[in-house]
Structures are given as C-alpha cells and as structure tokens.
C-alpha cells in the first residue's frame, strides 16, 4: 500500500528524529554504565578514593588551573586528555559532591596572579611552530577546597599523568582536605648537638624539618613525649617514634616498653654512634663522637637500652656497617679546596639494592684458587635474598627503581637467634653480601687533613677496608627490621620506674571509725576505688598488634641531610630519607587502601625479541640480531594480511574463470546440439 509521502512530512520526520536522538544522547550522559577492561584496572578508582567521596558531608570544589590546550606541546596535550578524563570520571562517581572549575592563567593576568598566590606552579614550555620557537607557560595544577580547608597540587607533569599516578597524587590530597582529625604520633628525639665555636653554640640538629615536610603536617599531629615529664604514651596514640635514642634514662625506657605492651608500635631510628658535625674547614665529619651513648650516664646495670632491644629480639652492635659492592654505595662530592671537589665512593654511605643475590652465590663461594666450596654455595643459595623485600610495604616506593634509601654510617643489627617465643621478624632492607661491620669508635676519616694527600689517603684506607672484607664471611646485614608478636615487658622482673608520686597504690577498704557506743560488728566503709592520678600497673605481656620497627640509621632522616645543608659543608645528602620516613609512617598508621594506591603503577609491558648471552655475545651483535628479528616480524605483519587478500582474490578469480569457461562450454554445447537437431 502506498503511503502519502510529502516534503513536509519528511522534514517533520527528520526533525523529530534529531530531537529524539539528541534526547537519548543527553540522557546517556547522566545514566551511564562503565566497564574497565584493563588487566590492572587502571581506570577504576580504588576503594580509598570511593570511600573518601562517600564520606563527604559537603561538596569539594576543585579549581583547575590549566593552560589552554593550543599552547601545549604534544606530550602535555596527551596528558591533559588523560587528566580531563580522570577528573570527569571523578565528578561522575562523586554524584554531585565534587565540582570542578577551570581557570586559564594564560588568559588573564589576574588569574595568573591568583594561581601563583595559591601555590600553583608553571613550567616554561617551548615548541616550534612554522619554524619559530614559541615559549609559553604551562599550567596544570589543582586546588582543593573543602569548607575552610585547602590543599594544592602545584603541578601535574605529563610524566605523572597516567591514571594510577593521578589517583596516587589526588586521593591523598582529597583525604587531607576532608580529614578533620589528624593521626597522632608520639616521639622522643635526641637532637645532635654540634660542637660550638668561638663560644657560640649552633642550634641542635634534629628532625623537626622532617616532621613538617610534605604532607606530613597535614596528616599527623606530633606529640613530644619529652614535654610530658615522663607520662606514658596516651592510649589514642598508636605509633611512638624514637629519633636517634641516646642517654635514655630508665623512665624513658619504661615508657617505650609499656607502649609496646599496650599493643602500640615503636619505630626507632637508631645509631650506635655519632660523628662530629664540624663547622670548621677543611671538614672532617667522620670522627666519631666519644660522648655518644645509648644510656644515660650512671645508668643502672641490667637496664641498658641494647639489653632492652635484645630482650625483644634485636641485637644492636657497636659497629658501623660498610659496603664493598660499588653499586650499593652513595657517592658524594666533597670540596677539598676552593673550586675543587672529589667524589668519594665511601663504603659507609650505602643503599640497599633490589637484586637477587643468589645469582652471585657461586662467585662468592669460590676460594682464592677459583674452586667452589659446594657447602658454602648451598648455604649462600639458601640465605641470600634481595636487598629489598619485594613483599614489604616499606620498600614499595623503591622497588621499581631497584635502589633503596640512603643509610649513612648504619649500625650493625642482628636478629637474636633464636628469637624470643611468640616473636616473628621480618627484614625489609639489607646490605649486599659484600658488607661487614667495623667498630664504631675507630677513626673513619679516610681523607685526612691535607688536601694534597686526600686522594692517596682515601685509596689507602679503602684498600685496607677491602682487604678486611675479603677475609670476612659473606653475609647480608639487616638495615630495617620489624619484630611483631607477643612481647614480654623488659621490666617484668625489674623494679618498675614509676613516676615519683604517681606509683599505683593498692588500697583496700578503709577501716570504719570505731564508735564506742555502737552495738554489733563495725560496718566497713565503701571502697574508695583506685587513685585516678596514679599510673596504671605495669603490663607484662603485649596486647595484639605490638610492633617494633628498627631502622639502622638516624642520619638518613636527619634535617641537615634532608635539607642538603650538611652537603654544603662536605657531608652527604639524604637519598630518599623523606620518602622512607613518610612511607614508614603511612604503613604503620594503617591506611592500607591509601598505601595500595602507590602500588598501582602502569606495569612494564616492554617487548623482548631476544636475551643477550652476556658471556659470549657482544652488545652490537645482540642489537643486530634483535633488529633482524624485529624487521622480519614487521615485514610479516605487513605482507601476510595483504597476501591473504591476494590469495582470496586469486582463488575467487580462478573459480569464476572456471565457471565462465564451463558456462561457455555448456552454451556452445547447446548450440551444437541445437544445430545438429
């Protein structure tokens, strides 16, 4: 049946169609389903992020200070696309609790001034357009506002703009800005007192800057236990940090012990020694300070700090660990005279390496004659492990680069063998097997005072060290140890050092006043209860969750090393000390979800077309072999699909030709038969 079809009807049809299509598209923006099919769930938000957004009571405003895309180069433009997608998705999952406003600092001076004022940073980007180099400021920072709280992500460079990296940067800031209550961390610190000069005493060098670095002050509230006059650590504090414990009195040791017994965590950065921080030039910062000791002068026998640690399962030796493997050394540049400095591979400035040392077990098991001691080889294969525990949350930030944080004059630690009952130990960082301890009180000034002889002096000392190392058995020394389980109190069988005047008093009921005229037995007075000002009695066994984490170095997290002030005076600069400290604190504070964010990185999906036989194949030959393989595969990927099509074309063509020939023959036959007929 023919239907009427007019131009008017057609236009109406089209109009209605477009309206309906537009509506469908509009609605699909609001009611969406999304599936992340990547193997690593790269584009899905972590439970930490979703949890923060769920908990929001009022909206978060994000101010995005982004340069116009046309002013960016390709890398920044790609990154901007990913950042915009990430932010779009963040807004979507927040269900209206998160809004974003975009500002272009390049568009108006007022916006640029404001961006700088609030802490957004820019980078100068140069690009070539029509043969002319153009330089423009690249802005790509975020400001988070929640109520009166503000946090800033100053700049997101393209290298940090993959989704997992974006989440690892943005989610901690979301948490910071939305968290009212900071996590409390107690600490004791013993700042290093450098020697005075000319009657003036320089300020002590401690860990205040460390505690106030990065995001730490926004997440943690620090409680200085030294100011509490001997109080026990408050019950709402989980972590107690000891920065370079020294001159500890009995009471302080008791506070530490009881915090552990309460089920808390003790994090100790220990040094069995200190080296003089000289302010004269030329500098010799490697002379041990003979006044440094763990225990207070006149400490009572049986209450030594090292004994306390030994009681828990950790032996602290009075040694400094030195590395013989060059790749594990921190080199530092020391000025020896104005305008001239030398780089020293100093064995006592080291870092752990993420490397499977069993691969070198055979090399270590060879004697001077080159023969392999099989028993030793077996032992080394059993005992040697990577310098960084790959399952350790503390080591996580360092695993990808395979280089751990710096340790400076690390103290030799050892796990007690056997460990106390109920105690488990985990070693997070270790030296290489080519390391040994040397007594801490021996001079370690390898360069001497005479600039012209510094190099010679260093070489001679290094040779002595390496000779000593050759005679030592190969072993990996722990650099960071964690003990957990059921601790017993160090003071269980000792006199408990309660605060004077606050000893717990056991009171029975007061006897009733005697009334001479009373008839019958005396009625006892009610029990007055415990003295509320008295300290609780000693806890002799630990509650679940008790942990003791010991780092074999306090210098690596010291303010002057982290700020590089020590370096300007000839000392080293801390490698990743702040990262180690922040990561350790985050792990111990227990925000597992937030920590898991840092584990989410774009995995390495590199291609490999061959492995090099390092013993028999030169690098150039290997590269040629690989290039040939790649070339063949490239050629195959171009030629094979085309060949497939060509083959199909040929087959089809041949078949059609045959059909045509058959048809023509049949037709010819018909003609012939018809003609005959």
């Amino acid at each position: 049946m023919r239907t009427a079809f007019s131009k008017r009807g057609l236009i109406l049809h089209v109009f209605l169609l477009l309206v309906v299509a537009g509506e469908v598209l509009y609605l699909s923006s609001f009611y969406r389903a999304r599936v992340d099919v990547t193997a690593d769930q790269l584009y899905s938000f972590s439970p930490s992020t979703l949890g923060i957004l769920d908990r929001l009571e009022e909206p978060i405003r994000i101010e995005a200070y982004f340069s116009a895309v046309e002013n960016l180069d390709d890398a920044w433009r790609d990154a901007r696309g990913r950042i915009n997608s990430f932010l779009d998705e963040l807004v979507r999952v927040s269900r209206g609790k998160l809004t974003i406003e975009f500002f272009d600092p390049g568009a108006e001076q007022q916006i640029e001034d404001r961006a700088r004022r609030v802490g957004i940073q820019s980078l100068n980007l140069s690009r070539v357009e029509a043969g002319v180099t153009q330089v423009a400021a690249g802005w790509q920072g975020l400001r988070f506002r929640y109520g009166t709280k503000v946090e800033v992500l100053p700049l997101i460079p393209p290298s940090a703009a993959q989704p997992p990296q974006l989440e690892a940067q943005i989610t901690p800031l979301l948490e910071l800005v939305t968290t009212e209550e900071l996590t409390k961390v107690a600490f004791f610190e013993w700042p290093y007192q450098p020697p005075g000069r000319g009657g003036q005493r320089p300020p002590p060098i401690g860990w205040a800057q460390l505690r106030n670095s990065g995001y730490l002050p926004g997440r943690y509230r620090w409680i200085d236990m030294a100011a509490t006059d001997g109080l026990l650590v408050p019950d709402d504090v989980d972590v107690l940090v000891l920065f370079c414990p020294r001159n500890l009195d009995k009471r302080t040791k008791y506070v530490i012990d009881q915090h552990l017994m309460r089920g808390g965590t003790v994090l100790a950065f220990v040094d069995a020694h200190a080296f003089q921080y000289a302010t004269t030039t030329p500098l010799h910062p490697f002379t041990p300070d003979p006044t440094f000791r763990f225990d207070a002068i006149g400490h009572e026998r049986g209450y030594a700090f090292v004994d306390q640690m030994d009681h828990y399962g950790l032996v602290i030796h009075d040694d400094v660990v030195g590395e013989g493997a060059d790749e594990a050394l921190e080199t530092f540049e020391m000025p020896i005279e104005p305008g001239r400095s030398i780089k020293w591979p100093f064995p006592f400035f080291l870092h752990p390496l993420h490397y499977d040392w069993t691969a070198n077990a055979e090399q270590f098991a060879r004697d001077a004659a080159g023969n392999v001691d099989l028993e030793l080889l077996e032992r080394y294969r059993e005992r040697f492990v990577s310098g960084m525990n790959p399952t350790s949350e503390f080591a996580r930030p360092f695993l990808e680069s395979r280089v751990g944080p710096g340790f400076y004059f690390p103290t030799r630690l050892e796990l007690r063998d056997p460990l106390p009952d109920g105690i488990e130990a985990e070693v997070h960082f270790r030296t290489t097997p080519v390391a040994m301890g040397v007594p801490s009180q021996q001079p370690l000034d390898w360069i001497g005072a005479i600039p012209q002889r510094m190099v010679e002096s260093f070489r001679a000392n290094r040779e002595t060290f390496l000779n000593g190392l050759r005679g030592e058995p190969r072993q990996q020394h722990p650099l960071m140890v964690e003990l957990s389980g059921a601790f017993t109190s160090f003071f269980a069988d000792k006199v408990v050092p309660y605060r004077p005047g606050f000893e717990p008093v056991e009171r029975g009921p007061e006897p009733a006043p005697q009334d001479p005229d009373a008839i019958g037995p005396a009625v006892p007075a009610p029990d007055p209860g415990p003295d509320k000002d008295a300290e609780r009695p000693i806890l002799k066994t630990s509650a679940p969750g008790a942990r003791l984490v010991v780092v074999a170095d306090a210098d690596g997290v010291r303010d002057d090393l982290i700020s590089e002030r020590y370096r300007s005076l000839g000392g080293p600069t801390s490698r990743a000390g702040l990262t180690l400290f922040a990561q350790t604190l985050d792990v111990l504070s227990g925000d597992r979800d937030l920590l898991a964010l840092y584990e989410r990185f774009v995995p390495d999906r590199g291609q490999s077309y061959g492995t090099r036989d390092t013993a028999n194949e030169p690098v150039a030959a290997f590269e040629r072999r690989v290039q040939r393989t790649v070339w063949w595969w490239r050629a195959a990927n171009v030629v094979v699909p085309i060949l497939c099509l060509v083959v199909v074309a040929v087959v089809v063509s041949v078949r059609r030709r045959r059909e045509k020939v058959r048809f023509l023959r049949a037709t010819q036959q018909l003609k012939t038969d018809g003609g005959v007929a």
Partner: protein, 243 residues
C-alpha cells in the same frame, strides 16, 4: 529468510567478486600496517595505541571509498529502480547493504590481528583494551559507513558521493579536535561548545581504545549510525514515492 538477509548475502558476495574491494583491502592494510608495525621493537611497550590512533584516520579516508558505489552506482546503472520495485522495504535494503559493508570491514580488520598476536608473543599485551578498541573501531566504522551511505543515496555520481562523504566526515572529526574547540571557545558560549564537541565521533573512540567501555560512547555510535541510516531510508522512500 528475512529480506535484509538476502540483500546482505548478495552484497557481501559482490564485494568478493569485485576487484575494488581487494584494492581497497590491500591499500588499507598496506598503509595501516606499514605505519603501525613501528610499535614492534625491543623494550618498546606492547601497546596498540598507535595502531588505533591511526585507524581512526584511516577509516575516515577509506570508508567513503567503500560507500561511494553503494547507491550511486545502482542509480547510474538503473538497477536502483528495479530494486525499488521488489517487495522489500527500504529499511531492509539499507540494513542489508550496511551490514554487508560492515562485515567486509570487519574481515579486513580481522586481518590486522597479526599485530596484537605478535605483541602478545614478544611482550605482555593487555588484551582488554585491544578487544575493546576493535569493538570501538567497528562501531566507529559503522558510523562512518552510515554517513557515506547517506551521501551515496543522494547523488548519482560516485566521485561526488566520495567527496561529500569525505568532507562531512572530516568536518565531524575536526569539530571534536581540541585545538579547534579551544579556538571556537572565544566565539561561542561554553554550552554550545560542549554540544558541538559532543557531535564528533573523535572523542568517543578514545576511551574505548584505552580499555574503558562506556555506555555513553556505545549509545552515541548506535544513535549516530541509526540517524544516518534512517535518513538513508527516508531518501529511498522518497525516491520510491516520487516514482
């Protein structure tokens, strides 16, 4: 058998009997794979991102070549009028032709699967984004096919159909281009800018190529394709009505 299936089978067979399809396939595969195989290399990431980035542009230029003859040739040869006299609805014919063209494109895309297989053999390829991107590529190809078919139905000349399809697809591509949008930002309100940007197929493929399948993107392509195919149906019905 449904009538659209009859049309589908006939059209698909005609692709394999026609030299044009083979030339199309060889050229498409040659260019696409030549540039995409630079993704193979020692220590390079096993990723098909470059392949799919190029594929978007390749489809934009090659699909009009596939669609230009679909209706224009039939009109020129006079077979369209014959087809319109058959007891078959315009929608069935349109859908049959569209499906056949899409199937042919799918077969050509299938021939590129050697590249992800090579990457998987020598690297750790994440197959999720690859499969999602292939699906996205088919959806995008379907959208382009529907545009090309509409233009082909509006003209007798194949070259005109090719050019019109090419220009319109390029226009749709560029209205989603970030540089164009940021230039336009100075002239139009934000809401209009967002609406213009939302029309472009360019951006909807990107999230799929990364491995995120969003219902908004799938609906966009289905609606886009549906609108142009329906337009195609309207054109045929109008011609049939005109006699």
């Amino acid at each position: 058998m449904p009538k659209s299936l009859v049309v589908y089978r006939r059209e698909l067979k005609s692709y394999f009997l026609s030299p044009i399809a083979y030339v199309f396939g060889v050229l498409f595969l040659g260019v696409q794979m030549w540039f995409s195989t630079s993704a193979l290399g020692q220590d390079q990431p096993a990723s098909m991102v470059g392949f799919f980035q190029l594929l978007g542009l390749m489809l934009l230029f090659f699909v009009p070549a596939l669609t230009m003859r679909l209706w224009a040739e039939e009109r020129k040869l006079g077979t369209l009028e014959l087809l319109m006299t058959f007891p078959v609805r315009a929608g069935a014919v349109v859908f049959g032709k569209f499906s056949a063209a899409l199937t042919f494109l799918a077969i050509v895309l299938l021939l590129t699967v050697g590249l992800p297989l090579t990457l998987a053999a020598f690297g750790s390829l994440d197959w999720g984004p690859v499969l999602a991107a292939y699906c996205g590529a088919l959806l995008m190809a379907g959208a382009y096919l529907s545009v090309g078919m509409l233009w082909s139905s509006l003209t007798r000349d194949q070259i005109v159909a090719l050019l019109l399809a090419l220009v319109s697809l390029l226009g749709l591509y560029f209205i989603g281009w970030p540089r164009f949008l940021s230039w336009l930002d100075a002239w139009v309100p934000r809401i209009v800018l967002d609406a213009i940007g939302a029309l472009s197929p360019y951006q909807y493929f990107r999230s799929m190529s990364r491995g995120v399948i969003d219902s908004r993107d799938v609906i966009y392509y289905l609606v886009f394709t549906g609108v142009f195919l329906y337009g195609n149906v309207l054109v045929l019905q109008y011609r049939r009505h005109k006699g």
